[in-house]
């Protein structure tokens, strides 16, 4: 499956994980720190994945100045 990562934007190929939780573990990403998106739809961590999926792992933690 193709996985789009952010900051900086890039696409990586991942083979094997059957679920969102498995994918994030494979990529060493903390699930609470991201959203996983497939075809503009949010996926929960138990969602099944297919090898043909195109996914985005979008970080949600922003930093910077406290306004």
């Amino acid at each position: 499956m193709k996985v789009k990562l952010r900051n900086p934007d890039r696409v990586v190929d991942v083979t094997g994980p059957a679920t969102v939780a498995g994918l994030l573990a494979e990529l060493s990403i903390v699930p609470e720190a991201v959203l996983v998106i497939r075809d503009s739809t949010l996926l929960t961590r138990d969602e099944s994945l297919r090898e043909t999926d195109e996914l985005e792992v979008r970080p949600v933690l922003s930093g910077g100045a406290v306004g």
């Binding site: 900051n7 949010l42 100045a65």
Partner: protein, 330 residues
């Protein structure tokens, strides 16, 4: 997972509530959380006009969206910080959202208002970019709100922002900052010969009950086209590192963030309420904003005016920094 409300297919899990939601019920859940926060902390009334600081990011656009849907008179305010093309793209996101909703957006630029951008300020003063940026945003948000005739300023600070700030304040025992950390910062006026002169608008944070992951999910489900990329000046930012550390703990112990923040508000915040350090709050000699004077003979100039004065003096002198601004090691 199934939606806890309708048992349909869930798209968002909120582990600290031991719940998952389908799209429509998650949106309703978010609106309910914000409405409850506004009521519990008596943030404002239905007739108040709200000035919402928007950056083009998910949190500020989400809070503006929810307030509009809840029926409030909410006007957006975008401050162009002059951070290269990043500021252009974030402004585009704010303007596009306002256009889509038919909502009013006030736009100002730091350069027009004060004569420098955030990157210039950092070079001229040697301050870490986020420090100068935060100081200028706080000042300009308040100034613009007063000038535009608003009494309530809304910011998109979420639970993660507040916990990271609290975490940092405890790590360094910034007791004066702990005394000022609250979901509502009250307005302040100075007495003058013409009567009370408002100098600080009321500042409120309606998103303190929702986590950053939830505001991102809300924005996505609502089709809000927010700026996903991170500010190019944020690298190594301390607040971001605190968030990462807390998120690791939250992952293994869901609910920790909420317990830390609301536990602080309920059981500890009042203990720091009088930790102002003994200074006297007076009007800044240059701009009239409140500032703390440490002794009767001390200068009464606020941090913003000191920083601005120093930056513009150096700019006029053609100052060239000899090295990059100090940055803490990541």
């Amino acid at each position: 997972m199934k939606c806890k409300v309708c048992r349909d297919h869930a798209v968002v899990d909120v582990r600290r509530h031991n719940a998952a939601f389908c799209g429509p019920h998650f949106i309703a859940h978010m609106q309910g959380q914000v409405a409850r926060t506004i009521k519990d902390f008596k943030m404002f009334e239905a007739e108040d006009r709200l000035f919402v600081a928007v950056s083009g990011g998910k949190d500020s656009l989400a809070v503006w969206d929810i307030l509009l849907d809840l029926g409030y008179d909410a006007v957006g305010f975008y401050l162009d910080l002059g951070i290269g093309s990043y500021s252009g793209r974030s402004k585009d996101a704010a303007v596009a959202y306002a256009d889509r909703r038919g909502a009013k957006l006030v736009v100002r630029s730091l350069s027009d208002e004060h004569g420098y951008t955030v990157p210039e300020l950092s070079k001229l003063t040697g301050r870490v970019p986020c420090s100068g940026c935060g100081l200028n945003k706080r000042y300009e948000f308040n100034r613009a709100a007063l000038e535009e005739g608003f009494s309530v300023l809304v910011t998109g600070h979420n639970l993660d922002d507040e916990v990271a700030t609290l975490f940092g304040n405890v790590l360094h025992w910034n007791v004066d900052m702990l005394g000022r950390q609250a979901p509502v910062l009250e307005e302040r006026s100075f007495e003058s010969i013409d009567g009370a002169r408002p100098v600080l608008v009321r500042k409120v944070k309606p998103l303190v009950r929702v986590a950053e992951r939830e505001t991102a999910a809300y924005a996505l489900l609502r089709g809000i086209d927010y700026i996903v990329e991170e500010c190019p000046m944020v690298e190594g930012n301390t607040q971001h590192r605190y968030k990462e550390a807390i998120t690791l703990i939250e992952e293994s112990s869901p609910g920790t963030k909420q317990q830390m923040y609301f536990g602080f508000l309920k059981r500890a915040a009042h203990r720091f309420a009088d930790e102002s350090g003994g200074g006297e709050i007076v009007a800044c000699e240059r701009c009239g904003s409140p500032t703390v004077r440490w002794g009767e003979t001390a200068e009464a100039v606020c941090s913003f005016c000191k920083t601005k004065g120093s930056a513009l003096k150096r700019k006029e002198e053609g100052y060239v920094p000899s090295r990059r601004p100090k940055r803490r090691r990541p």
